[in-house]
Subunit: 367 residues, 2 copies
Amino acid sequence: MAAAPRLIDTDLHNDLAGPRELLPFLPKEWHQQWLEQGIGVGGKSWSAVGYIRKDVKPEKGGYPGSDPEFVLKDHMDRYGFDYAILTGNASMIGISLNYDPDYANAVASAHNDWQNEVWLKASPRYKGSILINHADPDAAVREIERLAGHPDIVQVMMCSASRTLFGQRFYHPIYEAAERHGLPVAIHPGNEGLGPTYPPTPSGYPTRYMEWQNIIPINYMSQVNSLVCEGVFEKFPKLKFVAIEGGISWLPHLMWRMDKNYKALRDTVPWLKKLPSEYIKEHVLLTTQPIEEPTQPQHLVDIINMCGAEDMVMFSSDYPHWDFDNPKMALASFPRELREKIAAKTAMDVYGLKEVVEGAGIGGVAG
Amino acid sequence: MAAAPRLIDTDLHNDLAGPRELLPFLPKEWHQQWLEQGIGVGGKSWSAVGYIRKDVKPEKGGYPGSDPEFVLKDHMDRYGFDYAILTGNASMIGISLNYDPDYANAVASAHNDWQNEVWLKASPRYKGSILINHADPDAAVREIERLAGHPDIVQVMMCSASRTLFGQRFYHPIYEAAERHGLPVAIHPGNEGLGPTYPPTPSGYPTRYMEWQNIIPINYMSQVNSLVCEGVFEKFPKLKFVAIEGGISWLPHLMWRMDKNYKALRDTVPWLKKLPSEYIKEHVLLTTQPIEEPTQPQHLVDIINMCGAEDMVMFSSDYPHWDFDNPKMALASFPRELREKIAAKTAMDVYGLKEVVEGAGIGGVAG
């Protein structure tokens, strides 16, 4: 009898062994640009020194996270993940910030074909994302249509940084397509303040990496606020929005402030039919990594409980990045019922992962 | 025997009865510009319709908040405030965002002289702020030197929106002067996204007032993050920083994220000697209005307790703005010891208000 998954990683960065690995999937006219400029998104000042874990280099060489077989052994089996949602190279996720939409569309499509060929065929435990260029919604919709039928594709993914807040009408065709195909739309950080976006804070540019990294979640709050206020979840009532790697414990503040203002100002947003916090609870998912670590771990549980976020949070590891979370440590402090939801149950529902596939590891953490 | 204050309002917007009231305090060469353009800071798209309470118009006419005697009766006596910290016209606070530093400096000085003449002389229960133009730190320092000796001046004040994050070295002369005179530096919101600042979110411009108002606190998080990461509180160990009207319950998230990153990345901020959250607890004050209102009021108390913020929070009313908080309602849910700190004790320490002055009302809420 098939068992239900017990541990799912919702943020595994599968990567290219090197830039040339993308070439078979990229039209020839873009090869030189790709090899010389990569994603070509300006601004790298806040990159951490030592961004990638040094202890997870594939045995046969290449970049950490670039060998599907090694990742199965080094990550999936080691920690007992039944499934992992692939999120690709963290820089490539930011392709939406390239100034040229044609190049961005081509790189996104190449990424997706490479993922499907090299990773989704390597193991049924890997599930894929459709990387889109959110700056060209028509092209993004075509990419969703092209790949949504793939049996191992489970979400649409785009970078969290943008020139226009995600609630605005410009993006609605993307949500329409994602909702129609039953795919959640996920955002991933790391490009805040780069390319043609605005500074990472309303008062300008942080100086060092730590300061920039600390403050990334304010962009997540801004995007969630925009999605709710613009009525996206009334217009697309089945849409799920996955906020990867953007923090959790800002939820009470945002929910309470939005709900209070809604009570006074709801005549200015007449398309909203219920409290903003209700839309957030029903439509927004958050991933755990980097897990917040109060001195008393119970405080994070309290935060989740006080805003009714028990069904909003999914485990993620961020393998192979420096701030990787080990599920055995990150999940240890949650009470059993909540831990099981975070470890796998919520992700099962969001991504439609009903059963453990043959050969999958045993979810050793949530059991 | 003199009694200790029992209720202090840390955000009372005293206002001009009209623009002409400033003229006696403003050099003649700026009169026409002031009468024609006011503060002259571009961008007003997110202003609320009905921003000022309609029920608090002075009996003798003029703008709400413009009559010191009426405010004593209508606000101070009605709710039993022993003292109020004056914060002036909310738009004028944004004078730092005028493109012309000479005009901004002149308007700030005129504001301060008007406050001292019209308001501080009207009652010893009013305590004043030195409004500065933070975009010209040398001039701001001169203004602090000019007025810090006034016995009823208790803080330096500037708008929270800025072109450069407040931790950066550009602003350090302001902090040096404020610390030397024992004056806290306060910031006040309302100008996020206006004039020469950046958009109010890292991903651009909100559409409507509610969305903009919801998200203002992200700028506060950014400024506090910058102040701590840049080592301002190591360099100025007696400096207090008052974050007016920027929310409270984002503290756990910001503290936990900063502390976690500090543990991994402290070699990049070697000037920090302790956890970021410790600097926040020792140096940052927050005001209550608009008080966050979870369905279960105990949750806000829990948030304050879980991040050790019991001595960080001070009551404020925001009189006469639309989102005014009545202290009888806003303070009702706090347990006694915490309520007394929020109502008056913390503000007494921060602003050096030791005794109730003769004729002051009786703090009816905290008793």
